[in-house]
Amino acid sequence: ASADAGPPAPLGLGSEASPAEIDGWDIDVRPDGQGLPEGSGTVVEGERVYEVHCMRCHGIFGTDPGWDVLAGGRGTLATDEPVLTVGSFWPHATTLFDYTRRAMPFDNPQSLTVDELYAVTAYVLHLNDILPRDAELDAESLPEVEMPNADGFIPDPRPDVEPQAEPPAEPAPRVR
C-alpha cells in the first residue's frame, strides 16, 4: 500500500467486520452509482415527500433563502451574486441522494425509506428543471442524470499568487 518497505505485520487488533455489519453502516453513494440501494421513486411521489418532509425549511419551490437554497440560480455563477444550488452548481446527482440520506430532514436524519429518497431526489432535480415531471429514478438511472454544471469544477491550481517580496536576508531571530 505504501511506497517504502511495505506494511508492518498486523497487530491483531479489532474484530472482523461482517458483510451484514458493513451493509448496515455503508450509506455512501458515489457518482458511478456505487452504494446506491435497490428501490426507485418518481418525481410525483417525490413531490409528496418534499411537501411532508422538506418544504417547511426549503420553501415551496426550494428557493426560500435562510436555510440552504435548493433550486434556481442557473446562470449566476459568474456574477457578483452567485446563487449556488443543486441545479446551478452541483456536479453530480448522486450527491443529492447521498446527502439527503445521511443528513436530511435536518432534524430527523436517516428517517426516509430508500424509495422516498429516490423520489425526493427526483423531485429536487425536477425543481431545477433537470428531470421532467414523469421521471423516475433508481440505481441505474440516477448516475446517468446530466447535471448542468458537471464541467464546472477544476483542480486546485494554487499557489496562485506570486510572492511580491523577498524573504528577509537574515534568518528569523528565535527565542525559546
Binding site: A78, A103, D156, R158, P171, R174
Partner: protein, 399 residues
C-alpha cells in the same frame, strides 16, 4: 511609561488592597483544595469564551463558535475554547458503544472498539486546525469587530492517537486504492473524501486532546486530524473509513468547500490551508492603556509545513521589520511571533506577513481578490490590518 500606569485601576477596582495595604485575600482562607475536582477559569476571566455570531445561521445546530484569540497567550488553545463548527449539533456518544469500521479496498474489513484503538502504538503531535472559511468576512473589506470573529475559527492542540496509516495497515490497503472516505457519527453524517496520499502521510485517528480525552464538541470519543488541510476534513465522531479508488464527491467537497472563481468555475479539493498570520496583541477591541514600550504579538502558521519568517509593519505595509519566532517552530502548528514596539501615541496601522518553508508569502487582500474575486468563501488568507488610534483604541480598519 511609568506615569502612564502608576495608579492605573480598572473600573470597579479600589486601592484598599494595593501597597501599603495588606490585601484582604491574605487575611482569610481561600477556597479549599479539591473544591473543584475539575477546575475552571477564574470568574474574572468570564469574558474569555467562545462566541457565536447570532443570526449567522438560522439554526445554532449548524453554525460556528469562535476562539477568543485576542485573550490567549502562547500557542495552545485550551480545550474549553477550541472553536466549533458542527452541521447537526454535538452528539453524546457513550465510548463503550462507539465503533470505527474500516472497509472497502482492504484485505480485512475490521471494526475497532475504543479499547482496541487505545492498544495501538500512540503518538502525540501539536497541530493547528483552521476552518476553510476562517476570515471570510474580511474578503470584501474590514468587517468584524475583533480577532475572535475575524480569525477565531483557528485552534491548536496536542493531539494523541494512532497514525491513520497504522489503522489502515491493520486492515491491509489493497492495490488500486487512491482515496479514503471518512464519516462522522453525528446527525449530519459528515463525510469527506481524503486523498490516500494524505491519509498515509501524517493524518491521525485521535482520542485525546491536550492531555485528556477529546471534548464532545471536538469529536468525542474519536476523530480524524489531518494536519495542514482544511479542518472540515478532520472528521469528528469518526465511525467509518472506506478505502476506494475514486473520490465520493460528497456535498462537502462539491456544494461546499469548493472555491467559486469569478469566471464561474470552482476549484475543487483545494484542501491546503496556505500560510497565514495575524497580530493578536494588540488587535481590534483592545485599548492601549499608555504610551511607551509594549510588544506586538501574533500567530503565524502554514498547512505546508514550518513558518520560515514573519515581518511586521506599523505603518500599513510601507516599512517592515522582521519579528522574532518563538521556539519550538513545529510543522503545521501555530507559531508565536513578537516584535518590541515603542508606541508614542501616533496613529498606527499594524500588519504582519509570513513566509513558510516552501517560500510561499502571505498575500495582500488586493492580490488575492485580483485572482479569486470577492465571492468565493473559503481559503482567504490575506494580510490583516488593525488601526491604532491616538486614543489607544484598536479597530478593524484599513487606511
Amino acid at each position: 511609561a511609568a506615569a502612564a500606569t502608576a495608579g492605573w485601576l480598572a473600573p470597579g477596582a479600589t486601592l484598599a488592597n494595593t501597597p501599603p495595604e495588606v490585601p484582604d485575600w491574605m487575611k482569610r482562607l481561600g477556597f479549599p483544595v479539591g473544591d473543584r475536582p475539575y477546575g475552571r477559569p477564574s470568574d474574572h476571566e468570564g469574558h474569555v469564551v467562545r462566541r457565536v455570531i447570532e443570526g449567522l445561521s438560522p439554526s445554532n445546530h449548524s453554525t460556528a463558535s469562535f476562539t477568543p484569540l485576542g485573550d490567549l497567550h502562547g500557542t495552545l488553545t485550551p480545550n474549553g475554547l477550541v472553536f466549533e463548527r458542527h452541521h447537526g449539533g454535538v452528539p453524546d456518544i457513550p465510548p463503550a458503544e462507539h465503533r470505527l469500521m474500516v472497509h472497502g479496498l482492504v484485505e480485512r474489513p475490521l471494526t475497532f472498539t475504543m479499547e482496541d484503538l487505545l492498544r495501538f502504538p500512540a503518538v502525540s503531535r501539536i497541530h493547528f486546525l483552521e476552518c476553510a472559511a476562517n476570515t471570510v468576512t474580511e474578503r470584501a473589506g474590514p468587517n468584524r469587530e475583533s480577532v475572535q470573529f475575524t480569525h477565531g475559527m483557528l485552534s491548536s492542540c496536542e493531539w494523541t492517537g494512532v497514525p491513520l496509516r497504522r489503522v489502515l495497515e491493520e486492515a491491509g490497503v489493497r492495490s488500486g486504492a487512491k482515496w479514503v472516505l471518512a464519516e462522522g457519527a453525528d446527525a449530519a453524517g459528515m463525510t469527506r473524501s481524503l486523498p490516500l496520499e494524505n491519509a498515509l502521510d501524517d493524518a491521525l485517528v485521535v482520542y485525546a486532546q491536550n492531555g485528556e480525552r477529546l471534548r464532545p464538541e471536538q469529536g468525542y470519543p474519536l476523530r480524524l486530524v489531518v494536519p495542514g488541510l482544511e479542518a472540515n476534513l478532520s472528521i469528528k465522531w469518526l465511525r467509518r473509513l472506506e478505502v476506494g479508488d475514486k473520490p465520493w464527491m460528497t456535498r462537502e467537497e462539491t456544494s461546499k468547500y469548493s472555491d467559486l472563481m469569478p469566471d464561474g468555475r470552482a476549484r475543487q479539493f483545494s484542501l491546503l490551508q496556505e500560510a497565514k498570520s495575524v497580530i493578536t496583541h494588540p488587535s481590534a477591541g483592545h485599548v492601549l492603556e499608555g504610551k511607551g514600550f509594549r510588544e506586538i504579538r501574533g500567530l503565524a502558521w502554514s498547512g505546508a509545513g514550518r513558518v520560515k519568517a514573519v515581518e511586521v509593519s506599523t505603518d500599513g505595509g510601507r516599512h517592515w521589520r522582521q519579528a522574532t519566532l518563538h521556539e519550538p517552530v513545529l510543522p503545521k502548528a501555530l507559531t508565536r511571533f513578537s516584535l518590541p514596539w515603542e508606541w508614542r501615541g501616533e496613529t498606527a496601522w499594524l500588519q504582519s506577513r509570513v513566509w513558510d518553508e516552501t517560500g510561499y508569502l502571505q498575500p495582500t487582500r488586493e492580490q488575492l481578490v485580483a485572482v479569486r474575486g470577492e465571492t468565493s468563501i473559503y481559503h482567504y488568507n490575506a494580510i490583516q490590518t488593525w488601526k491604532v488610534a491616538p486614543t489607544g483604541e484598536v479597530t478593524n480598519e484599513r487606511e
